[in-house]
Symmetry: C2
Subunit: 117 residues, 2 copies
């Protein structure tokens, strides 16, 4: 009963790149490349744009999931990177992925939390 | 810049109800009813079953998302309930939802963490 699935990074990222918070198109392209680079494996996704701005993007992975919710009116988004350690330890990969996401949104202001779960 | 999206409950739930960890069918039916009961609003979902057992289920909501990853071989699943407070405070609703999920899995053993994000 002692199996711990893995590391979940919860973050709030601030950015002045409003277009990246309004349309999920660039994120979607970026994520599909990034998932390949990190040798992760997508098994399904949802992208939903809200009337009046903002979107939700979730990609399910064999290694768990990543999730994005944007609020362009506040210049921020939430980011979840949860990679389980089922077949190997993915903790450094989760941090690598988050750092890449931060760069993608050209952000220097953020809140960051790690939960081992 | 001070908007805080909301409450994110991260949980690991242990259960002896193996069938509920193997097939997402019952969870899917339960969640669609529960989302109505709580006056939440689904905007997309992914359900993916893994060869050899276990599944991922994610439902995106206008209020953010809920996510499930099961490991039948360990008798456990992870549960995320993240409800944002964009139009109203949904913190008590998030706790209500999690408690209902715990009952659904007939679990008395769990790990539970709340993150305000």
């Amino acid at each position: 009963m002692s199996y711990q699935p893995g590391l979940h990074i919860l973050s709030r990222i601030y950015t002045t790149q409003e277009e990246l918070l309004v349309s999920p198109d660039s994120l979607r392209t970026y994520l599909s490349e990034e998932i390949k680079r990190l040798d992760l494996h997508a098994v399904g996704e949802v992208y939903h744009s809200f009337d009046g701005g903002g979107y939700t993007g979730v990609v399910c992975l064999t290694e768990s999931h990543i999730a994005f919710h944007t609020w362009p009116e506040f210049g921020l988004l939430t980011v979840d990177v949860f990679l389980s350690n089922y077949q190997k330890n993915n903790e450094s990969k989760a941090r690598d992925f988050w750092k890449s996401i931060q760069n993608f949104f050209q952000s220097s202001e953020f809140q960051y939390e790690e939960v081992y779960r």
